[in-house]
């Protein structure tokens, strides 16, 4: 005996694994069933043969009830303890409730599963199991729409109503295509027909592709859908589970834009800071060149007397200082070139030597002393030298700001490199005012800054860089006061 099941609106679905099986195939499953059977999502189960999950030894009785057999009739809900295979091959014993139902004009078997424990006497009444199926469809977060062979809607759940903006009663028996933007309709019909024509009923039929939906108000939205196929009296029946991914796509887009903006601003601010440091550095050789040239001019005009060796030295100095200016410009160009970060094996000692050269100028300008203590310079790390330098320069720059108000004798910043098992650490240690507990919470948040001209991007970018190096950037308090920032990353093989 089968019963016609209407889909009443039930406020909540009990978290019981539920599978709808038609002719041996799973046509619908809920998340609890997916979890129980070790599937990532319910759509993974759609279209699979239920027999795939039955343990041959302990489920023969259940199999005979579930597998296609026109003569099988179920008089009432049957409960059988059966053994199931999860997708990962492990076994789970369940109390399976089996009940024949008519769902969307098709004869189906509803299977409810509960993991067997000591007290498995809680047997569901058929009334309960009906309302569970109903609740499952009604309370699903995803839109569930079923269509018949003519693509006419036969089921439209509340999530579908919400998503598309139509009442279920208004869409029943209408062809599905009004839910799609016009330009996709012709192709969609072809796709469904092709899907219907494949003989692949033993394989999973849930497909996931990026599609567009059309709401009642004319708005298009991106969606993800899985479709499963069943056959009733030679007629195809399709059930589509649809997820609106517009919110997710928008979040991803916003995130990408923010990331681009952060990168761009970081480059601008870095360029500004580099430019001011570079202008000083380049003005030095220019000053020397101009002064030497002036001395030569005085000789030429007879205002000065030079020995031949002095003249040669002056000319050499001009050449040397010109080359030095050129080298500074080359370095600037290399720093601002938009390059895709290339990872390579780097000796940490070399990275720190470069950092020392780059930071020295800044430190000198602010009359800060930099101390490097490098424990194992030959340890290698896999990374991008420019990016790691950027992180360290940023930390040093912050430290320079932190100690700016201290007396000159205490304006010292220490860079300490050390190794611990398979990780390399570089600590930037200052004895400035330190980071308060309140500030520490926001330290790595974008646009948070304690400086009047800060961008609030230095640390977030640095942390992003460290993450891309499978590393970390952490902050702690220096013993005796001040801030310590530690970058740590996996060591590669130590260079021999």
């Amino acid at each position: 005996m089968t019963r016609q099941t209407n889909i009443p609106t039930v406020p909540s679905a009990p978290d019981i694994a539920l599978l709808l099986v038609e002719r041996g195939k799973i046509v619908l499953a809920n998340q609890a069933a997916a979890t129980l059977l070790g599937a990532a999502s319910a759509s993974v189960l759609h279209g699979r043969a239920v027999g795939d999950f039955l343990s041959p030894q302990r489920s023969a009785a259940l199999a005979s009830l579930l597998l296609p057999n026109e003569t099988t009739t179920l008089e009432d809900t049957t409960h059988i303890v059966s053994s199931f295979h999860r997708l990962d091959g492990t076994k789970v014993d369940c109390l399976a409730g089996v009940e024949a139902l008519t769902w969307q004009d098709a004869s189906v078997v509803m299977l409810t599963l509960r993991v067997v424990d000591e007290t498995h006497d809680e047997r569901m009444t058929s009334q309960e199991s009906e309302s569970q199926l109903a609740a499952f469809v009604a309370s699903a977060m995803d839109a569930i729409i079923s269509i018949d062979a003519a693509f006419r809607i036969v089921l439209f759940n509340p999530a579908a109503e919400q998503m598309f903006g139509y009442h279920s009663a208004d869409v029943m028996a209408r062809p599905l295509d009004f839910l799609l933007p016009e330009r996709f309709r012709a192709a969609h019909e072809v796709h469904i027909k092709q899907f219907g024509a494949t003989g692949e009923t033993t394989r999973r039929m849930g497909i996931k592709t990026a599609l567009k939906g059309l709401r009642a108000n004319g708005q298009e939205f991106p969606l993800e859908a899985s479709i499963s196929k069943s056959q009733i009296a030679g007629q195809h029946r399709y059930t589509v589970v649809i997820r609106d991914v517009s919110a997710r796509q928008q979040r991803e887009e916003e995130l990408r834009l923010a990331q681009d903006q952060i990168t761009h601003m970081a480059r601008l601010s870095t360029m500004g800071e580099i430019a001011s440091g570079i202008s000083h550095e380049i003005n030095q050789p220019l000053t020397a060149i101009a002064t030497y040239a002036q001395a030569l001019e005085r000789f030429m005009t007879g205002a000065a007397e030079f020995e031949r060796s002095e003249m040669i030295d002056i000319a050499r100095q001009i050449t040397q200082q010109s080359l030095r200016a050129g080298e500074i410009i080359r370095r600037l160009k290399a720093m601002i070139r938009n390059q895709v970060p290339k990872f390579e094996l780097l000796r940490i000692g070399e990275v720190l030597t470069d950092v020392s050269a780059l930071a020295e100028m800044d430190a000198r300008l602010h009359q800060v002393q930099l101390k490097f203590r490098i424990e194992k310079p030959d340890v290698q790390v896999l990374g991008n030298a420019i990016q790691l330098q950027q992180v360290l320069i940023n930390l040093i720059r912050n430290a320079i700001d932190a100690v700016a108000d201290l007396p000159a004798s205490r304006r010292t910043i220490e860079l300490r490199q050390s190794c611990e098992s398979d990780r390399t650490h570089v600590a930037v240690i200052d004895h400035g005012p330190g980071v308060s507990a309140a500030q520490a919470q926001d330290l790595f948040r974008a646009f948070f800054t304690t400086k009047s001209h800060g961008t609030g991007l230095g640390l977030p970018i640095s942390r992003t860089i460290m993450n891309s190096h499978r590393g970390e950037l952490t902050q702690s308090t220096t013993p005796g006061g001040g801030a310590t920032f530690v970058m740590s990353l996996p060591s590669a093989e130590a260079a021999v």
Partner: protein
Amino acid sequence: MSAPQPCVFVIDDEEAIRRSLALLLRTAGLNVRIFASAAEALAATDSIEPCCVLTDHYMPQMSGSELLKALHDKGIAAHFLLMSGQDEDIPAPAEFQAELIRKPFDPDHLTKILLRLVAETKRPGC
């Protein structure tokens, strides 16, 4: 105490600048003493009193303007010239006049300024 000839102190932590300035200013007949740090120049004023002090501003330990302030506090009444390769303004000590000279500068112009300052100092009997 004063040196037999008015003396110009040139202080810069950058060797190329020190050397080139000493070379050029000597061709102009100036008596030049060069120093690599503010501390060295400050110590030298125990025995020589300069009539002009031409110093770089950004130097480690003691900056140019800190040096000028120390010299001023020590009672050294010299002409002060402060060099800088940075575009930003240097907070100049308010107690005395210091001429700001941006690098790179016209060396001929600088020479002329120093010659004029030395000549001015000479007249009252430096």
